[in-house]
Structure formats: C-alpha cells, structure tokens
Symmetry: C2
Subunit: 256 residues, 2 copies
C-alpha cells in the first residue's frame, strides 16, 4: 500500500518510519498520534507503537496529549559537531570577528553535498533569518559554500555539482560554467562574496578554513543586509578581517 518503491534493498523499514515520525515532530514542533499517522500514511496503532518506543528511549517526550522532541537529540547533535576540529577552533575567534564586523557570523562544514551550519554568532543588531544551527544550504548559493567548493578536490566538486543548480533568487549563479569562473576568482583571491544569491537583501563574505596540509575543513562567513554591507567596507575591509580570522582558525584547527 506504500506509494514508495524507493526502498533500497536491505534497509530497515521500521527505522525509516521512526525517523520519519521524528522529523514530522521536528517540522511541527509537536504532533499527536493521529496527525502523524495521517501525514505519514501509516496506521494509528503503528504510529502509537513507534512513539511509545521513542518515548521509552527518551527521544520524544509527552507534552500534554502531544509528543515533542527529547533533549537526547541535543546530546547527539553536540557529539556530531564535536567531531569536527573546526568547531572547537572557531568558537572564540568567530565571536571576535562578529564583534569587529558587527554582523552575524557562521561556521559551515560540508556533509552529503550540502553545507551545514555548525556554529553561529549573532550580532548586536539582531537580524532574524531562517538559518539556525544545523540548517543545511545549497553550497553554490552562499559565500561559505562557494568558498568550500573553490578549495575542495575537483573530484569532490564534480560529485556535488553533478545535478541541477537550484535557483533561489534572480542573482543565484545557476549556470555551471559561470559558477566555475566564480570559483576560480575565489580561489585566486582567497575569499568569496555573496551578493543576494540566496536571500534578496542579504550580502556575505566567506573564506575557507584550510588545514596546514591544504585540505579544507569547512568555511566561515559574516553576513548582513545590503544596506550596511556596501562600499569599501564590504569590498575590502570585511574580506580582510574574514580571511585573517580564517587563517587563525585554520592554524588552531591543525594544532588541537
């Protein structure tokens, strides 16, 4: 009765269902049994059994008559990012960078062909956007992502850029050749701009974090509205500060 057919052989259906439920709860903040059963196309009793199991394990908690995500995921998430040397190396330095620039800063690593923010520092002028810790983004639409693409292996880059380049704004670079040209420029000067390529009205400056053996660990950026990110400040001073911070973080990451 499943409409799928996308079952790779030798995979566990129950696990997929459990995580499907978890993700449903994540996307709705909290969910009830019937709602989940309807949305996922499973029976109420099945949804109930999964939730009972997840609750017993501590991964979901009851909130009145609904279920919410348990804080055990916080522990898992922390372990996941602690693996990355870049995380420890960037913490203090990013705070300094954000203070100096006065705009939001973020640290990104690549996973499964997408960029994941593992650390984020808010600036004084708190500007709400949709990016949180753990948010994933298309690499070609951000300054952090382009920094990464510019400095990773060509082989890996081809794997990542294999498919269609999604277009998020009118300025998104969705042509592969144009993107390669942009990456060459970034590779040459050592940092990347983002001029409203992901969100209209937002600009950013990013730079790669390189280990001492030239392998790329991830990248960092600061981002703010076009009203403040402009002129000499945006084109030379901020890039100077970002690349300097990236150098320091790279060094700290290699000696950890």
């Amino acid at each position: 009765m499943n409409t799928d057919g996308n079952n790779a052989a030798g995979t566990i259906g129950a696990t997929k269902t459990s995580f499907g439920i978890v993700e449903h709860i994540r996307d709705h903040d909290a969910s009830g049994v019937s709602e989940i059963a309807n949305d996922l196309g499973i029976s109420k009793s099945t949804a109930h059994n999964h939730l009972k199991t997840l609750a017993e394990l501590g991964y979901v908690v009851r909130q009145g008559d609904e279920y919410a995500l348990g804080l055990k995921f916080l522990d898992l998430g922390d372990h996941a990012r602690t693996r990355h040397a870049l995380y420890h190396a960037s913490i203090g330095e990013m705070d300094d960078l954000v203070e100096a620039v006065g705009e939001r800063g973020q640290v990104m690593v690549e996973e499964n062909g997408r960029g994941v923010y593992i650390y984020q520092v808010k600036s004084e002028q708190g500007l709400q956007t949709d990016s949180h810790i753990g948010t994933t983004v298309d690499l070609h639409t951000t300054s952090v992502g382009k920094s990464y693409l510019a400095f990773c292996d060509e082989e890996r880059r081809n794997e990542i850029l294999d498919g269609e380049l999604t277009r998020l704004t009118t300025k998104t670079i969705d042509d592969r050749d144009a993107l390669e040209a942009e990456l060459a420029t970034i590779r040459e000067r050592g940092y990347a701009f983002n001029d409203e390529e992901r969100i209209t009205g937002m600009r950013a400056v990013g730079a790669p974090i390189l280990s001492d053996d030239e392998t790329i660990l991830g990248s960092i950026s600061v981002s703010g509205p076009t009203t403040r990110m402009k002129g000499e400040w945006y084109h030379t001073e901020v890039p100077e500060m970002v690349t300097q911070a990236a150098r320091v973080i790279g060094i700290r990451a290699t000696y950890s």
Copy 2:
C-alpha cells in the same frame, strides 16, 4: 537469543536497535560494523543493514571504514531546545552574567527526572570539565538541580526523588530528609549552593527561573573551582548576581 526480557509490550525492536547503534557511535566517536555487532550482541549483517539505513537517512556518515554521527542530529537537537522558552530568554543574559562573575555558566531544564544542560557559557579562564551541552545530571547533586527541586511541585519532586539518591562525592546529599531540609533553605532564600557535591574541588551557585505564574521553567548557575569560589564573593556577591540574572531571564521568558 536476546538476553533482555525488558521488552515492554508493543514496542519496536528495530528502532531500539537503530538507536542503540547510534548511541554506540556517540560513545565511541566512530565505530565499525563488527565492533557494533559484537558490543550490541547482534549479527554483523543486521548491524550492516541498520547502518546502511541510517546512512541513507543521513543520520550517520561514513568516515573511511567507520561510521560517525551525522549532523542531522544537530538540527534535531536545536529544535528540541528551541521548544524551551528558557533557551531564548537566557542567551544574552547568561553571557553577561558569566562575564561579570568570571566563571562558567549553564542553563538547565528537567526532562525525565534528570537535569539537562541546554546552554553553557565558558569563562575566560577556560576550565575543562566533563559537562557539555546535552549532558544530563542527577538533580540532587547540582545547584541547578536543587534550585529546580526546591521550586517545582511537591508531586513532581516526589516522583523524581522516588529512588535511591546516588552519591558522587563525600559531600553529596544522599539522604532524603537532609535534602528536603536543604531544599527548604533554598526555597526560603531563593538560590542554591553546591559545595563539592558533584565534583570535588568545584563549587556553584544556582537559582530557579520562574515564569510569572510561579511555574518553574528551569534554572541557571555559575560554577568554578573552590580556589576562586570562596569568602564573601562566593557567599553573597555571586548569589546576588545570579538571582538578579534569574529574575531578568524569568521576565524575558514570560514575554516571548
């Protein structure tokens, strides 16, 4: 062939196995198929199938010939704590508090009878301890936990303190009556001390975060070594600052 027997009726075994694998990876940073199969008492092929499924979902990633936790957990963990109004309310204020006191600060909420740190601010004098984001602690062994116990419903307190009170140091309050007396004191003066009750050589000052309708949302604390946490500073000045911060956070949490 399972040695357990602890299967509550109507729960999904495959889900338990999958999360068992995830937790094994967490505890070992990275694990291989055979290692997991041995430690969990399952066959290699079963472990393989679970890992294949988890990898397909993006919750584990291959690292050479081992598996590590994927950053998808970071997203889930962030959503789990974002549910708590206390998290947003405490961010800026805790940083200020830590700067003023000069010692590490943490924010705790209760889940399943244990305390979970959802935010932590390191101080200048970086002191390494074993507590991270997502760490769980016994409530009766910390200043945050005792603050919570002192101000939550009596009914809830009885549920939580039902079992044995684990003893972590010679100073841990492991007697129920003594603990109740301590809680009464805390309730009266509005804040809690921790004098080497969890880790020898560490002291802390904690205070509850109360919503305007007197319900408790969690608690905060600052903690440092006994060499610095002493005298008038520890006994009156720090408590003053902690309770003041707690008041502000409580107000911010109710109007969010």
